[in-house]
């Protein structure tokens, strides 16, 4: 029976997984992800793929917002850069899809770093507004640079193939998306055990103190913007190849807001939180839809109400979480774990 976690060596303190229960949970989660596609039907596979992409994007955003404390409303714009770069490289220059994805990530990292420059001078709400402007400017370029992006028309991307096998079926692309999502999780979790991750956390907690302690603010802030955008670009590139089609409507400011909602509901400054939030927000409309179908007999004009109910629920969930549990699902999960771990002598 334990009353807490006590480390006696630095090695134990630094360990990624600290208790046997954590190791078991990781194995279970990996098994779930590996077995899921063999049992799921097409609907759930599509959903799982959406969640996978959202996980990558949300982790990317959480790097910037949750860990470094630089609030960004430019997520949608950065995803658009990733998606359009990947799509255009494949559609117009004939770069194979697996080559276009890393290139798109790098391109997004560069663009993200560029729009991170104002963060040198701006903090808090001013930075929010600057990133909002970045979002609007990127989207305007996408919709008006007809010669390259095709303007408001959809950009059609050729089917991704690997050794002659078409990859963008739900089942096959599942492995691509979740493989990359797993890699993203692994990289980011470990990133916060290095000096870079610690520097970001220091900047978030007190930027002046961080600078006094020898952290070059500008360098690390730009690095945070670039790294975050790298993963966001990855999410965008995956959308391009998974959907075969890139349209600007997928990357509006609403997308930025949705991703912010994910990391706030999931838990700021936590990779697990980003995953929880991505799952929650992606599944929310599905649950509402199911609930709506179940209530079909009770409420007569459910079909006309449903889309608005989704929008309202989205807002209400955000407000409720901020008012009642600002640290998000991650905190709720921790409390549940603690309850059972310390049971029956918790106090």
């Amino acid at each position: 029976m334990e009353s807490g976690i006590f480390h006696t060596t630095y090695r134990a303190d630094m360990a990624l997984r600290q208790t046997p229960a954590e190791k078991v949970r990781v194995v279970l989660a990996v098994l779930l992800v590996l077995c899921f596609p063999f049992f799921a039907d097409r609907f759930y596979l599509t959903l799982a793929n959406q969640i996978g992409i959202a996980v990558i994007g949300a982790i990317g955003l959480n790097l910037l917002v949750g860990y470094t404390g630089q609030i960004s409303l430019g997520q949608g714009g950065f995803m658009a850069v990733g998606a359009y770069t990947a799509g255009l490289l494949t559609a117009q220059l004939g770069v194979p899809w697996y080559g276009s994805i890393p290139l798109a990530c790098l391109a997004t990292a560069v663009v993200g770093g560029f729009f991170g420059i104002p963060s040198l001078r701006l903090k808090g709400l001013y930075l929010v507004i600057a990133t909002l402007a970045a979002q609007e400017i990127i989207l305007w370029i996408v919709t008006h640079w007809d010669a390259v992006t095709g303007g408001v028309d959809a950009l059609v991307v050729p089917d991704p193939t690997l050794f002659g096998i078409q990859m963008n079926t739900d089942f096959r692309f599942y492995w691509v998306i979740w493989g990359l999502a797993g890699l993203t999780i692994l990289v980011t979790v470990n990133l916060f055990r290095t000096h870079i991750g610690r520097a970001w956390i220091a900047i978030r907690d007190q930027d002046i103190a961080a600078e006094v302690m020898g952290i070059g603010l500008f360098r690390y802030k730009l690095l945070a913007f670039a790294t975050s955008s790298f993963f966001v670009g990855l999410a965008g590139a995956l959308i391009a190849h998974y959907r075969n089609i890139v349209t600007w409507e997928r990357f509006t400011v609403d997308v930025s807001v949705t991703y912010l909602a994910m990391i706030i509901i999931g838990g700021l400054g936590s990779v697990a939180g980003a995953i929880f939030g991505a799952v929650f927000i992606t599944l929310l409309p599905v649950f509402l839809n199911d609930a709506g179908q179940a209530l079909r007999g009770v409420i007569p004009n459910i079909d006309t109400i449903l889309p608005f109910a989704e929008q309202a629920a989205f807002g209400i969930v955000i407000i409720l979480f901020l008012v009642l549990e600002p640290r998000g699902l991650r905190r709720i999960w921790d409390r549940i774990k603690d309850y059972f771990r310390l049971w029956p002598f918790s106090y």
């Binding site: 104002p118 402007a133 309202a312 901020l322």
Partner: protein, 290 residues
């Protein structure tokens, strides 16, 4: 020359409307340090409420507008009481997200009650053409401008001379000090939200009168950011000047250059202003450099 006068007049009228929206925004920021991402939705609610009062219920329009204002005050107080008050002292991202959540709820409410298709606004403001210096301006735009100017002047006087207005400035300056002087900060916040809602309702009715009632009104919520940053986040005068400058900029670029450049140029200006003068033209300078 004629087109120049024409563009200038259109720009000025567009600008005053922007200024009117921006003012509600500045008001909330001034009194409670909240960046309100739901300003566009307040506008939307205001416009639809006026529409409901005048068309759906069929009130005589001055009565309808008055009823709208009363409802706006109540809604403002409710929002403050049940949502924003919990956010006092929370981090910036929480406050921003809560207003974003609010905007989502408000938009859903409006859409579910009135549907998503646009509606023609009851024309209670005369809408002929008036010619000034050889340029034609729609009369409804002119009226909107006149009303907007009157309102802006009224709010300026309110902040300078009325007891509540002065208390509001005190709260904005230092909440602790205001509390110790016997000012109820919660009451002031409620005031700020209801005034912001009233100004948004009037602006909504004016804008809807020109462009019709539709969900697009909410787009003003984003267009207001260049205005308030240019003018200074905490300055009413800044909102007016910023609104007019951005209105002129939008109309000139739209008229002379085109290509939809008028949609993006304000945001480019925004970034430039943020880089060289983040507190805007008239804002209070309190930037901490790191």
């Amino acid at each position: 020359m004629d087109t120049f006068v024409q563009f200038t007049l259109t720009g000025l009228t567009n600008g005053t409307i922007l200024a009117l929206v921006a003012m509600g925004f500045v008001l909330i920021y001034k009194a409670s340090d909240v960046i309100n991402f739901a300003q566009g939705e307040l506008l939307l609610v205001g416009a639809y409420l006026t529409y409901a009062m005048v068309v759906d219920i069929g009130l005589f329009w001055p009565v309808g507008v008055l009823a709208t204002l009363v409802v706006a005050v109540v809604l403002g107080i409710l929002i403050e009481r049940f949502v924003l008050r919990k956010m006092i002292g929370e981090s910036i991202i929480s406050v921003i997200m809560v207003t974003i959540g609010l905007s989502s709820v408000l938009r859903a409410l409006v859409n579910s009650v009135w549907g998503t298709t646009g509606k023609a606004f009851p024309a209670f403001i005369p809408s002929g053409q008036v010619s000034i210096l050889g340029a034609e301006v729609a009369a409804d735009r002119l009226w909107a401008t006149v009303i907007a100017v009157l309102m802006l002047a009224g709010f300026s006087l309110f902040f300078r001379h009325s007891k509540v207005g002065i208390a509001m400035r005190a709260v904005a300056d230092d909440q602790q000090a205001a509390l110790s002087m016997g000012i109820s900060v919660k009451r002031i916040f409620a005031w700020a939200w209801s005034i912001a809602f009233v100004s948004a309702a009037i602006a909504g009715a004016l804008v809807a009168n020109i462009v019709g009632v539709s969900g697009e009104l909410a787009g003003f919520g984003l267009r207001v950011f260049p205005v308030v940053i240019l003018g200074g986040l905490d300055s009413i005068a800044g909102a007016i000047v910023g609104g007019i400058l951005i209105g002129l900029l939008e109309t000139y670029t739209g008229g002379y250059i085109g290509h939809g450049l008028n949609q993006v140029l304000p945001f480019v200006v925004l970034i430039v202003i943020l880089m060289i003068r983040p507190y805007g033209l008239f804002g209070q300078e309190k930037i901490e450099r790191v």
